[in-house]
């Protein structure tokens, strides 16, 4: 079991959790993820590792409350214990490519940080773009700015930075004469698809971090199989990082929707229990 050191809601529905895990912290690399299990009844939740501190022996994750198990995770308090299995996945391919653009959305605004940092350390000029629906949902800007050469924001409603998405900024920059050697994109599936398609259009090779359904996350169950470049890959052990241009996004969406009716049902069934609404 691992103890929760801090948990806070960064912006509405994005939770940041720092977990005591000294052995894990020693082994984390950009691109890795963890499986977190809030309690006996919970699912095994895959979450990207957003930061780690070897000296303090801690690991940081960001997550959204989207189902019953993440709801329970969000209701945890400092000092509670959870099960965590990490680090998992292949480490990110990082080198000095020249100028790279890094896009984060959703939990990816938090979890893209190790990649930004590693790209910077490898000598790249790092241009980071983060997106959200509105200003009040943007977070982590200062942290990312520290390791980025430039940072841009995009909001759908235009309340902060460019009106639009990360890919709007990416395109504006390229149209304005900027050249990017690589793009790194992390966020919800839809966000990654949009940005990867734009990168492809602009001729930028991209890396994305797939987040399909997983159960064991060690290659045993195969639920995370996805089509990449015409081959079946297991996101948990062959990924989660893949070339954005090669991913069969349609299939990924369809496969991710497999348990949506179940999840909706369970969420409604459990929400009242867990939040004690209407009870004593």
């Amino acid at each position: 079991m691992n103890r929760i050191i801090t948990i806070e809601e960064e912006v509405p529905n994005v939770h940041k959790m720092v977990i005591d895990a000294p052995d894990v912290a020693k082994k984390c690399k950009p691109g890795h993820f963890a499986i977190v299990i809030p309690d006996e009844q919970s699912e095994r939740i895959p979450l990207s590792i957003a930061d780690w501190d070897e000296d303090a022996g801690t690991v940081t994750i960001y997550f959204l409350e989207v189902g019953v198990s993440t709801m329970k995770l969000a209701r945890k308090v400092a000092g509670d214990e959870i099960d965590m299995m990490a680090p998992l996945g292949r480490e990110s391919e990082i080198d000095n490519y020249g100028t790279v653009v890094v896009c984060g959305g959703c939990y990816g605004v938090g979890a893209i940080y190790p990649i930004v940092k590693a790209l910077k350390e490898a000598g790249n000029t790092v241009v980071t773009i983060i997106e959200a629906r509105a200003k009040y949902l943007l977070y982590n800007e200062e942290v990312l700015a520290r390791d980025s050469d430039e940072i841009y924001t995009a909001t759908s409603d235009g309340s902060h930075g460019t009106k639009g998405k990360a890919q709007t900024v990416m395109k504006d920059l390229v149209d304005g004469g900027r050249h990017f050697d690589r793009a790194y994109i992390m966020g919800c599936t839809f966000m990654m698809m949009r940005n990867a398609r734009m990168a492809k259009e602009l001729g930028i090779p991209s890396k994305v971090y797939l987040n399909p359904l997983m159960v064991d996350a060690t290659g045993m169950c195969g639920v995370c199989r996805c089509d990449v470049g015409g081959e079946t890959k297991f996101a948990c052990v062959d990924g989660p990082e893949f070339d954005g241009a090669d991913v069969d996004w349609e299939q990924l969406f369809k496969r991710s929707a497999q348990y949506v009716p179940h999840q909706t049902l369970a969420y409604q069934h459990k929400k009242c229990d867990i939040d004690h609404c209407g009870g004593v």
């Binding site: 045993m220 195969g222 199989r225």
Partner: protein, 489 residues
């Protein structure tokens, strides 16, 4: 000193012999087929004490017992049966446990019909074998439910430390043996619970999980320390265990957990699951209790399971219990070639599973949302024997037909998971990525032992435990002498 061979060399009197020959096997009470095909409780309900003793009396106490030869770990079967006859149940269990650390498990899941029971003299005389498996289970269950326990005995601490990777039957066996000898044993398991296949693969209706936890608790009492959520090769490597974490030896019992697919058209459609996924959701994550448990499992109406082994049988019977109107078992050979235990095939038939033998899927057809809707199959016939000695199935041209399905479970075997072996330099593998060991369980890497499915490919619980036994002895020897062969093969 207590005579450990108290029940050795017993013989039946002529009258007892006559009665034994005239007797017939006592069936174990089981849940009614219709009732049980809708619940997850155990099918077999166990022997009463009287029935167990009656059944044990059927043993002919052969001077050269075939059953013992048929047992991969050579349990002293006539001895433990004699102890049952005498009502000395704890002694019976102790005798079994000398050779088998998990009798409650193997009594339920061993393929007895091709092992001990298959070699029973009754069978040679065309009678029904003694219910050895049932009796093995009986002695273990009786202790679990009674207040009289076998004492847990461990030797003085030796100061030596051994790490075991994987808490499956193989790893647990090694842990038991080494803890008994006084070594400090740490078990590292990737999942959040111990048991390996016993927890995530074999369903509750065949192997109640409570019983696996009971055995693990016994090990904890013996001082074994369990570390869950530890994927070795990721959180730390085998080399780090040996060089930095102070382990004198490491045992790798990581199983054969990688699912195989058939690579046919449409296999990525929604509703098509590997047996590992289907069973893990159901058993480890308790999907059948969704939404009390959070992990969902898809409850198909027309479910086809591809394969003919224990895993396929477990999957198809699970589908039935999850409410399938039609649960099909689609197998490319015929019933006699099915590798599953006889009892499971028989139970599946009783529960209303529809068998499509000599049939193979060739592609899956889906709807616009990416869900499987039908499966195209082809009929097969048996040709010449293949490497495995079984007759090779060949497709009959023009025999294609379509089966409407909304869920499919692919259960055509598993292979070695390379996650650990890839992170362990110096470990020799064969071409299927199985670890190569010698007759003492030693790998090509000094201080590292292995056994079970990662060595054999998907095999059986008892063989995995037998390997654990051998390796535990190998580890003792190594801790003593420090000797390692130049080459293992």
């Amino acid at each position: 000193m207590e005579d450990i061979y108290k029940y050795a060399g017993k013989r039946l009197t002529p009258d007892e012999m006559k009665a034994a020959i005239a007797s017939s096997r006592h069936a174990m009470t089981e849940q009614d087929a219709i009732v049980r095909s809708r619940n997850f409780e155990e099918v077999n309900l166990g022997y009463s004490i009287e029935t167990a003793q009656e059944e044990a009396k059927r043993c002919l106490l052969c001077p050269v017992p075939g059953c013992v030869q048929g047992c991969p770990v050579r349990i002293k079967i006539p001895e433990f049966l004699s102890a049952i006859v005498e009502g000395d149940f704890l002694e019976a269990l102790r005798i079994v446990k000398e050779d088998n650390a998990l009798p409650a498990v193997t009594g339920r899941v061993c393929p007895q019909e091709i092992q001990c029971e298959g070699k029973c003299t009754h069978v040679k005389a065309k009678r029904e074998s003694v219910g050895i498996g049932h009796l093995e289970r009986f002695v273990a269950d009786l202790e679990r439910y009674s207040s009289e326990k076998l004492p847990v005995e461990t030797a003085e601490p030796t100061g030596r430390k051994v790490a075991i990777v994987g808490a499956g039957p193989s790893g647990l066996t090694v842990a038991a043996d080494l803890a008994r000898s006084g070594h400090e044993v740490h078990v590292y398991e990737a999942l959040q619970k111990p048991g390996g296949v016993l927890i995530y693969g074999i369903p509750e209706f065949r192997l109640p999980k409570e019983l696996v936890f009971y055995e693990v608790d016994n090990l904890k009492q013996m001082g074994v320390q369990f570390h869950y959520n530890h994927v070795i090769g990721r959180i730390f490597t085998v080399d780090e265990m040996l060089d930095e974490r102070g382990f004198d030896a490491v045992y790798l019992g990581v199983g054969a957990g990688l699912p195989r697919f058939m690579n046919i058209e449409g296999e990525s459609l929604n509703g098509i699951f590997s047996a590992n996924e289907y069973l893990t959701r159901n058993n480890l994550m308790k999907g059948y209790e969704f939404p009390t448990y959070d992990t969902p499992i898809y409850r198909g109406r027309n479910v086809a399971v591809i394969g003919g082994g224990n895993v396929a049988m477990d999957s198809v019977r699970t589908a039935k219990r999850l409410g399938a109107e039609n649960a099909y078992l689609v197998y490319r050979r015929s019933r006699v070639e099915m590798p599953a235990r006889d009892e499971e095939i028989h139970h599946a038939e009783e529960e209303g599973v529809e068998f499509h033998n000599l049939t193979n899927p060739i592609r899956y057809l889906g709807d616009e949302n990416g869900w499987v809707r039908a499966m195209e199959c082809i009929q097969m016939e048996l040709g010449e024997p293949d490497d495995s000695g079984r007759r090779r199935p060949v497709p009959i041209e023009g025999s294609e037909f379509t089966l409407d399905v909304d869920a499919v479970v692919v259960s055509v075997g598993t292979s070695a998971n390379p996650l650990l072996t890839k992170s362990t330099p110096g470990l020799e593998l064969n071409r299927w990525n199985n670890i190569i060991v010698d007759d003492k369980g030693r790998t090509s890497k000094k201080g590292v032992f292995s056994g079970g499915d990662i060595v054999r490919g998907a095999a059986t619980v008892i063989l995995a435990m037998g390997d654990g036994r051998v390796a535990a002895a190998g580890i003792e020897e190594y801790l003593e002498t420090g000797e390692w062969p130049d080459k293992v093969e």
